[in-house]
């Protein structure tokens, strides 16, 4: 009986879905493309199933009380990604599986090692310095293995890794610690400027540094995606930490000003924007990627062409940048909606983890880490459907890419560990910095979400 009570039943009951998806998906791809199920299909499906079993058992042993929905969702996304990589670049499928396995192990290590995530708070400046060093290193030593025009990678021996993926986690850790410590000052504001209350200027320092960092990424590395992601994280966390919409608005305006300046000064930024605004001006040349992406989406229609029956491979860098277009073509609008629903649940679930923790730092960290996933997903997907210029960042857990998978599994490990922290018996009232009307609303929101949660966890 005691053994039975140790099983993460809910997680276990959800895992059959991500178990079946890679097997069925890869089999369909193989039959669609080659007329028969290749042996690789079985290898991939078996490997993935073992990895998932490892993740599940590992979590049961190492972090039993962690949230039980996050891992099945991520496993399903990874499985779907594996199928798509097998579809688009069969030669890279085994490597993708390898990275999923490495990511799973990393996730387990993080949940085990960081049993007290609050300790990270102490390393906030180390995190900031490490992050800045990584950016500096990439600017100086970055390489561009794919000739994409952006030197976003660092070479370590035979491996290439993308520092921006690690950087996003470091950024969240730093901001969570920094904002939690200075919450009072930031929320209250001490300087009076007309009707505006401003925080003391030294506290704006990190804001300006982050703003500059984002723009530096944009300008020196031509990495609009990472710039948008970092800046989004910054704005979201500033809002969470200070509760002042005004800061977020000012930061957004500053970013807009910076982008406008970059547009005026740099030809490659202008080019990106022009391709975005009018891709049909050069559909065979510079706008080829986005135009082919949109046509792929259109070709899918609602039901989709069927796995292996579309032509998504005409899109350059489809397995990294435009995996959404490939999915839209072969699985249709139906499949795209399912994917969006998965990300919605993932984001909602991550935010629940944030809501369920008492500690200010872990709460900010959990919300920040979830924001990373949400913003990164939104930036690449919005680019894929031409709501914003197309960027080269990955679709979390789905796109091909080792650094991305590893970083996102690390992030997941952190989130799972935070979710396993002891919960407050009842919603704690924060006495620091929250204005009375907001507090009242807080209680309602927390109450509702937690009630749902309690129902589900039995």
């Amino acid at each position: 009986m005691r053994l039975l009570s140790c099983v993460r039943w809910r997680e276990l009951s959800l895992l059959p879905v991500p178990l079946v998806v890679p097997l069925a998906g890869a089999a369909l791809v193989s039959i669609g493309r080659y007329g028969t199920a290749e042996p690789a299909v079985l290898r991939l499906a078996l490997g993935f199933a073992l990895t998932m079993l490892l993740g599940h058992i590992g979590l049961t042993v190492l972090c039993r009380t962690a949230d039980q929905m996050l891992y099945p969702i991520v496993a399903l996304l990874s499985g779907l990604g594996l199928v798509l990589v097998y579809r688009l670049r069969p030669d890279l499928a085994m490597r993708q599986l390898g990275w999923i396995a490495i990511g799973t192990v990393a996730m387990l290590v993080v949940t085990h090692v960081l049993r007290h995530p609050e300790v990270l708070r102490r390393y906030k400046y180390s995190a900031a310095v490490a992050g800045l060093l990584l950016v500096a290193l990439t600017i100086v030593l970055g390489v561009d293995p794919n000739n994409s025009g952006a030197r976003l990678w660092l070479g370590i021996g035979p491996f290439l890794f993308q520092p921006s993926e690690v950087l996003k986690v470091l950024l969240v850790v730093f901001l969570a610690a920094y904002l939690d410590e200075n919450a009072t000052v930031l929320t209250a504001g001490t300087y009076q400027l007309g009707r505006l209350r401003l925080p003391p200027l030294p506290y704006l320092g990190p804001a300006v540094v982050m703003w500059g960092l984002s723009l530096a990424l944009l300008v020196f590395q031509r990495d609009l995606g990472a710039a948008l992601l970092f800046f989004g994280i910054f704005v979201a966390m500033l809002y969470l930490g200070s509760g002042r919409t005004l800061y977020a608005a000012v930061a957004l305006l500053a970013f807009a000003a910076g982008v406008t300046l970059a547009y005026a000064l740099f030809a490659h930024v202008r080019l990106r924007v022009e391709i975005w605004l009018n891709p049909w001006a050069d559909p065979r040349g510079r706008a080829y990627q986005i135009v082919q992406g949109l046509i792929a989406l259109a070709s899918g229609g609602v039901p989709g062409a069927g796995l292996g029956f579309g032509m998504p491979t005409v899109i350059p860098a489809v397995h990294t940048d435009l995996v959404y277009a490939a999915l839209g073509e072969e699985l249709g609008f139906a499949g795209a909606l399912a994917l969006l629903a998965l990300y919605s649940v993932l984001v909602e679930r991550g935010m629940r983890v944030a809501l369920s923790t008492a500690n200010g730092f872990t709460r900010l960290a959990a919300a920040g880490l979830t924001s990373v996933l949400a913003i990164q997903t939104a930036v690449i997907l919005a680019g894929s459907v031409r709501l914003i210029p197309l960027t080269g960042i990955t679709l979390p857990f789905v796109s091909y890419g080792g650094s991305s998978l590893l970083a996102n599994y690390l992030l997941l490990g952190l989130l799972l560990r935070i979710s396993a922290l002891p919960r407050p018996i009842q919603p704690l009232r924060r006495t620091r910095g929250v204005a009375p009307p907001l507090q009242a609303r807080d209680e309602v929101a927390v109450g509702t979400l937690q009630t749902n949660d309690r129902e589900g966890s039995h």
């Binding site: 259109a298 062409a305 609008f333």
Partner: protein
């Protein structure tokens, strides 16, 4: 802080919702349009997978069919009729006009299309059966030989086109390989064109080539004079003495006007001066009206592309211009198809038959979808006038310049034409013949035109005879 977290969560969920709306926009709202985009490589891929339907001649001979993804054309002489089909260069002829049916796109509803795409089946097209006779087409091709030009043979009652030949030919089987060469050929015909040095090979001269009709147009003028009761076949005309002079413009008594004392002999000996005079007796309005009734001045409706013919470039012509028009020069520009219709109208008792190239369309299993029916383009002249004109055209073959078109045992009606092709007298004339047979119970009307070949009586008439003879022999 939890209120902020909830609000931020809502922002993220709203973003994902916005993305799903944008996805729906591209996949559903703009889907159809983008799928049809010229930048969509799937279109070509689907085209490649399509089992395109066959094109058959009137007796069921396979003219075009797809084997192993390759479009194959069996009868080179029908190149301009079937047209070509190329993923790179598009389509022409019947391949273009019936692309929807042949490719299976037409008549495929959204449900069939969805089912087909769900089952990953290739599209299958329907078939087209033409009115042309592959055998006769090849006879015409051999008869006209190396010359540039065209032959059109019509069934006078039904309007069915049995031969529609344009020379030089091109090979639709090798369209991709020879495209550059075909496109770089001279676009306009000249006396320098030859079998070795073909000019405008892709042009369907039968339906789109424009030429001065020369004396073959005298049939139109004669029809106007007879039907409007201006003249009877035996109404005396003033004798030709050297030339007919109108406002200082001299129309010589050529090619032969001696002994011409009525309309019949003016046509038989093709006297320019007499027809110039008749033209001015009719006046521009009346001549133009009869030309219009024959279909001149518009594009003849046909399943494949035709070019509008021309009576004159303007209105209010001078008297010399009307005279020139009446004997077949002036600013007249005719297609061989148009001139075949002139002969067909006379043969059909004055009623102009609508030409048609398609006998029936068939679905992919070979069941008839639609059968085309004979139609008329209107009455040109009274049956009596047509009868009189027929007699005159019989005499033109039996006693006049059309002698080379005589067929033993069959009465042939016809008119030759030798059209001035350039202001330079050294340039050879275009050689024409129009006619029909048998004259007493007309079945087939023909037009033969040969570029820069000289006398119609010596070049075009014998070609017409061979084709008519073959057609009558085949009909039994």
């Amino acid at each position: 802080m939890s209120g902020r977290i909830v609000r931020l969560t809502h922002v993220y969920l709203a973003l994902l919702l916005l993305i799903s709306a944008a996805t729906a926009y591209w996949q559903v709202v703009r889907g159809e349009e983008l799928r049809a985009s010229e930048y969509n490589p799937r279109r070509i891929e689907e085209e490649r997978r399509t089992l395109r339907g066959r094109i058959l001649d009137r007796r069921g001979v396979e003219l075009a069919a797809t084997q192993d993804g390759q479009r194959r054309y069996a009868i080179p002489a029908l190149a301009h009729v079937t047209g070509f089909y190329s993923l790179r260069y598009g389509t022409s002829g019947i391949e273009r006009a019936y692309d929807g049916l042949l490719s299976g796109r037409a008549g495929e509803g959204p449900i069939t299309r969805t089912m087909r795409s769900l089952l990953h089946q290739p599209r299958r097209g329907g078939h087209v059966q033409l009115t042309v006779d592959a055998e006769l087409q090849q006879v015409a091709d051999r008869a006209i030989g190396a010359a540039h030009g065209a032959v059109v043979l019509l069934d006078v009652q039904t309007g069915e086109v049995l031969v529609l030949l344009s020379k030089p030919l091109f090979d639709p089987n090798r369209i991709d390989a020879e495209w550059e060469q075909l496109r770089s050929a001279p676009a306009a015909s000249s006396p320098q064109c030859s079998a070795q040095n073909p000019c405008a090979p892709l042009l369907n001269r039968a339906t789109q080539g424009l030429y001065a009709p020369g004396s073959t147009f005298k049939v139109v003028t004669a029809a106007a004079a007879l039907d409007s009761r201006l003249l009877q076949p035996n109404t005396p005309l003033p004798a030709c003495t050297g030339a007919y002079v109108v406002d200082g413009f001299r129309i010589l008594c050529q090619p032969r006007c001696d002994g011409v004392y009525d309309l019949t002999h003016a046509l038989v000996f093709s006297c320019n001066a007499a027809f110039g005079r008749i033209g001015n007796m009719l006046g521009e309005e009346r001549l133009r009206e009869y030309a219009r009734r024959f279909g001149i001045g518009t594009a003849i409706p046909l399943e494949i592309a035709t070019t509008p013919t021309q009576f004159a470039s303007g209105t209010n012509l001078s008297r010399p211009a009307v005279a020139s028009t009446a004997f077949g020069q002036g600013e007249l520009l005719m297609t061989p198809l148009q001139m075949a219709l002139v002969a067909a109208a006379v043969a059909n008792g004055g009623e102009l038959p609508a030409p048609r190239l398609v006998l029936r369309t068939l679905d992919r299993s070979g069941n008839t979808l639609e059968e085309s029916r004979p139609r008329t383009l209107g009455r040109v002249m009274s049956p009596q006038a047509a009868q009189q004109l027929t007699q005159m055209m019989v005499l033109a073959v039996e006693q006049g310049y059309g002698f080379q078109a005589r067929i033993p045992g069959v009465r042939v009606a016809g008119k030759t034409g030798t059209a001035q092709s350039s202001n330079d007298p050294a340039v050879p004339d275009h050689s024409w013949f129009i006619g029909f047979a048998p004259a007493d119970r007309p079945r087939y009307a023909i037009a033969v035109m040969m570029e820069f070949s000289g006398w119609g009586s010596l070049e075009a008439a014998p070609v017409a005879r061979r084709v008519l003879e073959a057609a009558l022999g085949r009909a039994g």
